[in-house]
Symmetry: C2
């Protein structure tokens, strides 16, 4: 690949960069995942968010199992080139594997993390076998 814009990313020692997904329009923060070079290249090419799953050690085309695809409106890079932001439209309105709209559903209250946003869909419904 000769795409220079990918060379401007300050990939970490594992060849990854954190990627923040933010909802287009509302600015709501949905999630943070990781990308390798291939994931970012495919994201830019396809217009759909593709991450690198550190737990499964493979490309993770967001929504491939859940159907909750993220359509990418804009890609941003920070000053140091080591953080990417995706502005996305979240398919199904659910970004999180827990069935919450987004992953940041816990808030610090005093000395406790409190769940302050509802589960919109049972995870068993999201990841139905054979779906």
């Amino acid at each position: 690949m000769s795409a220079n814009w990918l060379d401007e990313i300050a990939w970490d020692a594992d060849g990854l960069v954190p990627a923040i997904a933010q909802e287009a329009g509302t600015g709501k923060l949905l999630m943070l995942a990781w990308m390798n070079r291939e994931a970012l290249a495919e994201t830019a090419r396809s217009g759909r968010a593709v991450y690198w799953s550190r737990s499964r050690n493979k490309l993770w085309r967001k929504g491939e199992e859940s159907g909750h695809v993220q359509s990418v409106r804009e890609v941003r890079l920070d000053c140091d080139g080591d953080v990417v932001v995706l502005e996305v439209v979240q398919g199904g309105g659910i970004a999180c594997h827990t069935g919450h709209a987004r992953c940041f559903f816990r808030r610090l209250e005093g000395e406790a993390w409190v769940e302050v946003e509802p589960v919109l869909m049972d995870p068993n419904e999201i990841y139905k076998p054979g779906r």
Copy 2:
């Protein structure tokens, strides 16, 4: 320290967690930096964002040199406990050391990163010796 809420963080191998700063009210994404346990504890206690500088290898009380302090309105944690979000009021309206309002001032256009937000203050003015 016996604060259990800190034990719920999935600190990485270096004892760090990424922390995203988002502007209260507008939802504007300002920056991503890193925190260790001490930084997060002090942030919660003081109500001012404190990060861990990976380059300087020490606590970084945001604004200690620039004056651009971040007042924390809310702290969030994600589903896996490995990403923190701070909702902040950005002092001086400048989060980035480059003098941009925020670090995400570059947008991918075709195959190039293009600076699409202005510098609001000369970095030499921000980091004046003796300030």
